[in-house]
């Protein structure tokens, strides 16, 4: 056994994040760690990587008991970690990023040529092609991740922890990555894979360990289980059967007519003559590789970005060029794509974050009605099972998934005819995902018009009545729910034209 973690317990005051967790890893094994938000996966990995000290328990690497006081200790013992958010210097070259900390030197000078040579050898050895001289900022996300993995390999890692590695990748990149993991495992590298995506886990891992409430619920071979069994283990109950009632869509609520948005320096248009309609009682899904105009489209239909030409109407009213406040008054609720950038103020309280956009109903004569606010917010928190210390807790202390639930609760509470749901379940666990999906579908069934933007094709396919694919700022194609498959969408996302799908 390459790695054994025995009886790991971690307490934070009265909270037990890990409760006598056993975890092991063999050479060349891919071992996935799954569980809901707050199940203790991150804590366990932070302990392994030397970022936290266990309250109890032992870590044995290669037959020797080890104590990791810092990540450097863990790295020295052959453990590497690729974080969910990459830790790269965008303005430096690929080679510079990979050799950082162990730069080849010519005298006292940093020998860039040797570094590039070294990186080339390394990338060939592990079958991870990169251009050593390219700037990281110019590399697509998938390549940046390759750079992270090479960096860790260059540090001599035999065990690589991948934290939510596929979150930001396109379907093709995901496929490539999972293959690369398997290949590296054959070369003797071992992986610990943290993921929410059960299909990816099932397709790439040898063994899967499920954590719930800090305890190991079970450790199973991937070939002996399936997604349904795993989610039962994770959630601790049967998930509700998912069904989408047929609804005949009503009148158009949102129309986007021939909208063009130019880049800041008047370069290539970010949105190029985009037209779409969302009617009452339907969910329209927008798919696309990120950076193909989704963010701009979201900003246009929420009043956060000006259009250069074209027209936007909401609830029959021409809202082109109006402010976000006026969009909201015309009937918009908006689950934003980035919960921290747009959706919250981290330094402020949960209550303050919850009432944004609700001031009119929660104040009288310019004075906030504190008691009413407490009652309302408490009800929203209950309905979406947001875990928070109190209403006065600062938003930054909520976990990402709980923050997301709070935002969804806030926006659904508006009861508006039009809802933008952008990445509504990013980073949330299965239980929360179920709650959020149910809320969106319920609104649709009640006649709401919903624009769904998601980088998860499975989410788009599950919820949408119609699917539009954006490619380089244009609508590359439209598919109806019955017609759409992952392959067809992927093809359009990669720039294939709608007519060539068959």
């Amino acid at each position: 056994m390459l790695l054994q973690m025995e009886g790991i317990t971690k307490r934070y005051g009265s909270l037990i994040a890990n409760d006598r967790v056993d975890f092991s890893l063999q050479e060349g094994e891919v071992h996935a760690l799954v569980g809901e938000n707050g199940a203790g996966k991150s804590t366990l990995m932070r302990i392994l990587y030397g970022e936290e000290q266990p309250s109890e328990g032992r870590i044995i690497v290669g037959g020797r008991e080890r104590v990791f006081a810092t990540p450097s200790d863990a790295i020295a013992a052959g453990i590497g970690m690729v974080h969910q958010h990459f830790m790269l210097f965008p303005s430096f070259t690929v080679a510079e990023n990979i050799v950082i900390g162990r730069e080849p030197k010519a005298g006292v000078k940093f020998d860039r040529k040797a570094a590039a040579e070294h990186v080339k050898t390394l990338s060939e050895k592990f079958g991870m092609p990169v251009d050593p001289w390219a700037k990281v900022a110019d590399c697509p996300v998938g390549v940046q991740q390759r750079i992270e993995i090479l960096k860790v390999l260059n540090q001599g890692a035999k065990i690589i922890i991948l934290d939510e590695p596929t979150g930001a990748l396109t379907p093709l990149e995901v496929e490539w990555l999972l293959k690369a993991i398997k290949r590296l495992a054959k070369q003797g590298i071992s992986f610990i894979l943290i993921s929410h995506k059960l299909n990816e886990v099932l397709g790439s891992a040898d063994r899967i360990t499920v954590l719930r409430d800090g305890k190991v619920i079970g450790s199973v071979k991937a070939s002996d289980t399936d997604a349904a069994a795993l989610s039962r283990m994770m959630v601790g109950r049967e998930l509700a059967k998912f069904e989408r009632k047929p609804v005949v869509p009503g009148e158009a609520i949102l129309t986007v007519d021939n909208v063009t948005v130019l880049g800041d320096r008047g370069t290539k248009p970010l949105l190029d003559r985009v037209s779409l309609t969302v009617r009452a009682g339907e969910i329209v899904g927008i798919a696309g590789v990120s950076g193909n105009g989704q963010s701009e489209l979201l900003q246009v239909v929420s009043g956060l970005r000006r259009v250069h030409s074209g027209k936007v109407t909401l609830g029959g009213k021409d809202v082109t060029g109006l402010s976000a406040g006026e969009f909201r008054r015309a009937g918009l609720a908006h689950i934003p794509e980035d919960r921290y950038l747009w959706g919250s103020a981290k330094e402020e309280s949960v209550a303050d974050n919850a009432i944004m956009g609700h001031l009119a109903s929660l104040s009288k004569g310019g004075i906030l009605r504190k008691r009413l606010i407490r009652e309302k917010v408490a009800r929203w928190i209950d309905a979406f099972r947001v875990k928070t210390g109190s209403l006065e807790t600062k938003a930054k202390h909520l976990s990402g998934g709980n923050m997301q639930k709070l935002i969804v609760a806030r926006e659904m509470a508006h009861g508006t005819p039009f809802v933008i749901a952008a990445e509504p379940t990013r980073g949330v666990d299965i239980g929360a995902m179920e709650t959020i999906h149910e809320a969106l579908l319920k609104r649709r069934d009640e006649g709401g018009a919903i624009l769904l933007v998601s980088s998860e094709l499975s989410e788009i396919l599950k919820l949408s009545d119609r699917i539009l694919v954006l490619y380089e700022g244009r609508v590359a194609g439209e598919l109806s729910a019955g017609d759409a498959t992952e392959e067809k969408i992927s093809f359009l996302m990669a720039g294939g034209s709608g007519n060539e799908t068959h």
Binding site: M87, D338, Y340, T393
Partner: protein
């Protein structure tokens, strides 16, 4: 629930107290270096600041303009606008107040009210100008507010040195003295403390209530905390900026007004700039993390360091500059805290959405 709040309070107090502690320590080293006795010097400093009723009153008098500017700066900071123009706003406020009290006809209370209105308006408009330059021309507020200080200070200096100079006066650049019916009443006979102090305390309480309990206060806090979140929620940045800059400048203008009506009874060139009230106000805001009530305490602390420093100079060989050393190290440590939290914020952004 309560417990979380208390620890939060304790934490928010810990940093400024630490800064004060380190500041006193650095001061002690400086005192030791110039050959003074640390114990005696600090004892004299305490006596100079709070040693008698008279000295305490003097400290609070000095704190009054610092409190008011600190409140103005806090308001702007909370909305996310770095208003460094308190000095200019204060100077124009003071000059306008002096002129109103001199030239508006009528009985004392009318003059006084006219002076307060003119002072707040002048300070507010001067601040609004910087806000407008930002919303209209996207000129950097930090720079405009800073540079507008020079324009205000030198314009006022010129005006009282020439056209508005006291007729037949033998003094320097100053206006004529106000009619004593327009003077702010003293709170205690024989001391310098005037009614402006009460107004300053009331203003602090009002500002704290405004920020916590009103919709506009909420919008200001959210705008300062995350402007994108505010925009997303439909908060109008431009309008709110102009309002908060206007109010911020008006408070600085009021600080200047009270110095005229309560202490000097005329506008004298350099009466506000040489004691550095505005910069002390900004320091107090930073020290208190833009909390209105905290700003009052910080302002009194800074005033005490200054009046205490004078006591030290009167009674020991240690120079007045010692209190500047302490103040400067305070600011150094407070700004270290700001930089630190800025870095933390950057890091937190990098670690956003860390699932599981």
């Amino acid at each position: 629930m309560k417990r979380i709040n208390w620890t939060a309070y304790a934490q928010s107090l810990a940093a400024p107290l630490l800064a004060v502690g380190v500041g006193l320590l650095v001061g002690a080293i400086a005192i030791w270096a110039v050959g003074g006795s640390v114990g005696t010097t600090y004892a004299e400093m305490w006596k100079g600041a709070f040693g008698s009723f008279y000295f305490t009153a003097s400290t609070l008098t000095r704190a009054t303009p610092i409190i008011l500017t600190a409140l103005g700066v806090s308001l702007a900071f909370r909305a996310g606008f770095f208003n460094l123009g308190a000095e200019g706003q204060m100077v124009f406020g003071a000059l306008a107040a002096a002129l109103a009290a001199l030239y508006v006809p009528g009985p004392g209370p009318v003059k006084m009210l006219a002076a307060v209105a003119a002072g707040m308006l002048a300070g507010g408009l001067w601040s609004l100008l910087a806000g407008w330059l930002d919303t209209r021309f996207r000129m950097n507020l930090l720079i405009t507010t800073l540079l507008l200080n020079y324009i205000a200070v030198y314009t006022a200096g010129y005006l009282v040195a020439f056209p508005l100079k006291e007729k037949g006066g033998t003094g320097g650049a100053q206006t004529a003295m106000l009619d004593n019916s327009a003077w702010l009443p003293k709170l205690f006979a024989g001391t310098t403390l005037h009614a402006g102090f009460i107004v300053a305390i009331a203003a602090a309480v009002l500002l704290a209530l405004f920020l916590t309990f009103t919709t506009k206060g909420y919008e200001i806090r959210m705008l300062g905390s995350n402007p994108l979140f505010a925009a997303y929620g439909g908060v109008k940045r431009g309008q709110l900026m102009l309002v908060s800059m206007l109010l911020s400048g008006a408070l600085a203008g009021l600080a200047g007004t009270f110095e005229v009506l309560g202490t000097q009874y005329r506008y004298i060139d350099n009466m506000l700039t040489s004691p550095g009230y505005a910069w002390s106000g900004i320091m107090a805001t930073l020290l208190a993390g833009s909390n209105p009530i905290g700003s009052v305490l910080a302002a009194i602390l800074l005033a005490a360091l200054q009046t205490g420093g004078m006591g030290v100079e009167r009674n020991t060989e240690v120079p007045l500059e010692i209190s500047s050393v302490i103040q400067s190290s305070l600011i150094l440590f407070v700004s270290a805290r700001i930089t630190f939290s800025f870095i933390k914020r950057r890091k937190a952004r990098a670690a956003n959405g860390n699932a599981a």
